[in-house]
């Protein structure tokens, strides 16, 4: 079976593929291309490392407890009758 898409098309689809926004059919074509093309495969890995890093680094920040308490207090005040 030959590739349904070439490297150029694969580059165009890469962003949507990694965001899981391709149709199943187009995603399958992309996955098949990545299995066959080392160059596109490593470019995809490169983008994945970047995205994973961003996700990990951003998720380390949490809402400070003092702010949570302030918000809960403000909501309680909002709910007080009258």
């Amino acid at each position: 079976m030959s590739d349904a898409i070439d490297c150029r098309e694969a580059r165009d689809r890469l962003q949507d593929y990694l965001k899981e926004e391709l149709t199943p059919e187009r995603a399958r074509e992309m996955a098949a291309h990545l299995e066959r093309c080392r160059h596109c495969f490593s470019q995809a890995k490169f983008e994945e490392s970047f995205l994973l890093m961003l996700r990990i680094k951003s998720q380390r920040t949490c809402c400070p407890n003092a702010l949570k308490e302030r918000i809960l207090a403000a909501l309680r005040a909002e709910r007080e009758p009258g």
């Binding site: 965001k19 983008e47 490392s49 961003l54 920040t61 809402c63 400070p64 918000i71 403000a74």
Partner: protein
């Protein structure tokens, strides 16, 4: 104290779990922890007051982030006016992948950069790129959700995300070369 009503319980269950995400996005939008705190609190109160407009079961996180972003634009951005890039579409960042595909083809250097530097680089992006990148790549929102929150077409979301990522990668690459995380290319200026 009175027992919470059903609506109040629903609000607590659906909205409160997103405080971390709201705070993170607030930080990236304002660039200032105390403004981010005020922004999140204002957002939660607004959300609570208009809770009846929220359809249960729809995307609470997307709805809250939309309120946060609108509040930011209306009440906060004025304080520190950000220059709006006039010709965003003209920004064609260079793909750094070409520079590095031999030395580090799988981008291992990204994870060696300290958190603070990464967040600084995100904060330095043009606002229009930054908000799309934060919602997509830090908070995991889909193209459609981002388009709705920012009132822009999906195509614009995609192209801003593409450019924002490239700009950020270029910045991080530059930093990694400067600090010796990756060796400078032979023959590179």
């Amino acid at each position: 104290m009175a027992e919470p009503t059903t609506a109040e319980r629903q609000f607590d269950a659906e909205a409160l779990p997103h405080l971390d995400a709201l705070y993170r996005v607030g930080l990236r939008l304002t660039g200032d922890p105390s403004q981010a705190e005020d922004l999140v609190q204002d957002t939660m109160l607004k959300a609570y007051r208009s809770w009846r407009q929220y359809r249960p079961g729809t995307n609470a996180k997307g709805w809250l982030l939309t309120i946060l972003r609108n509040t930011f634009i209306n009440d906060y951005r004025r304080r520190k006016l950000e220059p709006i890039a006039t010709d965003l579409e003209a920004i064609e960042p260079h793909a750094i992948y070409r520079n590095i595909e031999e030395a580090d083809p799988e981008g291992a250097f990204f994870s060696q950069i300290v958190d603070e530097k990464v967040l600084e680089a995100v904060d330095a992006l043009p606002a229009e790129f930054r908000e799309v990148l934060v919602l997509s790549d830090m908070e995991g929102m889909s193209y459609a959700e981002i388009a709705e929150a920012l009132h822009i077409p999906v195509g614009t979301v995609k192209s801003r995300l593409f450019r924002g990522r490239r700009l950020l990668q270029a910045k991080l690459y530059e930093y990694a070369v400067e600090t010796g995380i990756i060796p400078a290319r032979k023959g590179a200026r």
